[in-house]
């Protein structure tokens, strides 16, 4: 490697990285998200209270030195529930995003690259899934199951949200497949696998990453929404959504804002941060979108 390599020659990915690093809002959002992730990971060091164990003598207590955000209706410490709740909200959002990403990229790539009957079948399947309202489908599946675990929950979100990504990936594959550089790769005798991984995916990765990021925000909201109406991760597991469901009680809503404002803000700011990062990535990958 020559010494001057980092001086002059920049790959399109390096250029995108530089553009992203110039986006102050996105960088601030990254730091905020890292802070939330850190709080979730190091929750056991930040609080001594068990988020699942209530003390029936300490129901709905106001903030004190021992319980800085007070306690909930079952006498559990709100602060520790907030920290451990971040774990579940972020885990659900992140794993559902990865799961969706895998299904979406594989199906989209197959449909877009090979076309024909497979493409037709996959597209009708996406139409079918897109036609089902998420909430109704999720509620039905949850109602049929006896116990809802995080794994089941993530699967439900993933199997209802992959079609959007499949269509995006298929679209980029369809247009990239006809590009001259893909024809050129075929002309030198490259295999389908090499063409897909070396030529098509690197050129389609921008919209895929951006959409996956924005999707993660939607998934965190979906988890919170279902938990809020009591159909999500069941108690006593803490999530931001089921902490908020406490606020369905008018007495807590009025008298104990410290119980529901922090998880509400947690959802709001986390989702906002992820969206800012997604926007930042979009601008970085496609400089034309934001002059």
């Amino acid at each position: 490697m020559p010494k001057n390599i980092n001086k002059a020659y920049k790959s399109p990915f390096q250029l995108a990285k530089e553009r992203f690093l110039k986006n102050k809002l996105a960088i601030a959002s990254i730091f905020f998200l890292l802070f939330i992730i850190g709080a979730a990971i190091f929750a056991p060091f930040l609080t001594d209270h068990d988020p699942k164990k209530g003390d029936l003598l300490l129901i709905e207590h106001a903030p004190s030195e021992e319980h800085i955000l007070g306690t909930d209706g079952s006498g559990r410490d709100n602060f520790s529930r907030l920290l451990y709740g971040a774990r579940i909200s972020l885990t659900v959002g992140f794993s559902a995003m990865i799961f969706t990403l895998i299904i979406g990229v594989v199906t989209g790539a197959i449909a877009g690259y090979y076309g024909g009957i497979i493409d037709n079948l996959l597209m009708r399947l996406t139409d079918l899934v897109l036609a089902l309202p998420f909430l109704v489908l999720a509620l039905t599946i949850i109602a049929l199951l006896e116990k809802v675990t995080i794994g089941i929950f993530v699967t439900i979100i993933a199997i209802t949200s992959w079609p959007t990504l499949t269509r995006i990936v298929r679209g980029s594959f369809l247009s990239l497949r006809e590009q001259e550089f893909v024809l050129g790769a075929r002309a030198i005798g490259a295999t389908d696998r090499r063409i897909i991984f070396k030529h098509v995916i690197p050129n389609a990765i921008g919209p895929i990453i951006v959409n996956a990021t924005l999707m993660m925000a939607t998934m965190i909201i979906a988890e919170s929404a279902l938990s809020f109406i009591g159909m999500g991760i069941p108690q006593p597991n803490p999530t931001w959504g089921n902490m908020l469901s406490e606020a369905q009680n008018i007495r807590i809503l009025r008298n104990h804002p410290e119980a529901w404002i922090p998880p509400g803000l947690g959802i709001l700011l986390t989702v906002l941060a992820i969206n800012f990062i997604g926007d930042g990535l979009r601008d970085a990958f496609d400089p034309k979108s934001n002059p």
Binding site: P2, A8, P12, L183, A185, I188, H199, P202
Partner: protein
Amino acid sequence: MRNPAIAHQEKLVEVQQLKKYFPVKGGILRRQIGHVKAVDDVSFHIYKGETLGIVGESGSGKSTLGRVMLRLLEPTEGNVIFEGQNISTLTQRELRPVRRSMQIVFQDPFASLNSKMSVGELIEEPLIVQTNLSKRKRKEQAAALLEKVGLQADDRHKYPHEFSGGQRQRISIARALVLNPAFVICDEPVSALDVSIQAQVLNLMKDLQDDYRLTYLFISHDLSVVKHISDRVAVMYLGKIAEIAPKHALYTNPHHPYTKKLLSSIPTIHTNSDKNTVPKQPVMHQDIPNPANPPSGCVFRTRCPLAHDRCSIEQPTYTEIGPDHYVACHLYDKGGDTSHTS
């Protein structure tokens, strides 16, 4: 100028009755309602070491012809014999080792290079796919070839966006030549470049042809470019070859009315200085007919000033009117009405 005796040497490529029809789908059920005859019953051969130019308007099927010859598109019918082997019947897998000897340079230097790969990766890729050379060997070859096409060995760390159109086309050429092919299809390689750069790239291609003993199929809509680089020229019209002849015969003594029209449409600055120019004829006004619904008989008859009754009924076959000079026109075949011959 290459030796004219070359014309009697062995054939490297032979195209036999090649056809490529694209289906046209319509209606709610997306049923096939017809087809576009992009390449329709084309036969010709290319001698080892020569350059065969293919000229034609947009939509005449010349790019499709190149792609079908390399099996980047599957032919509807017909054979392509390359180095004595019929490559039309091979599977794509069997074809892979053959691709080593036949390469293509595309028209648009901005679309034909993967912008996410560095120049080094781009030029080494054919070696990775086709050979077992070590990384160091590959780098050496890529660097040597970069210098050969007029770039610097150090440019291999750069990315395509850092180059101009002409430089990118040089990269494409390096990529096509790194496997040391016998045959290169040049699909309008200079059409997207500035005129000043065109000559540089064309001369580079000529030099490389001599150095590497290449055979070119040179596709272009630009008659002057084709004249500059070709040994023989084929004129394509609506998926068919109208006339094919050695360069000098075609440019000084064109026979097909379409060739005459094309040659007279070359803009010149000094109208009377070039004795070889064909007398001026009025430029064609009509557009090329829809290839999904071509005229009956001779496909050129709708725009031909000399069309007569027979042209709408019967498709013309090739008549040899000189050494290696064939024309598909009823004016020249023996059974035809020759009273209109100009």
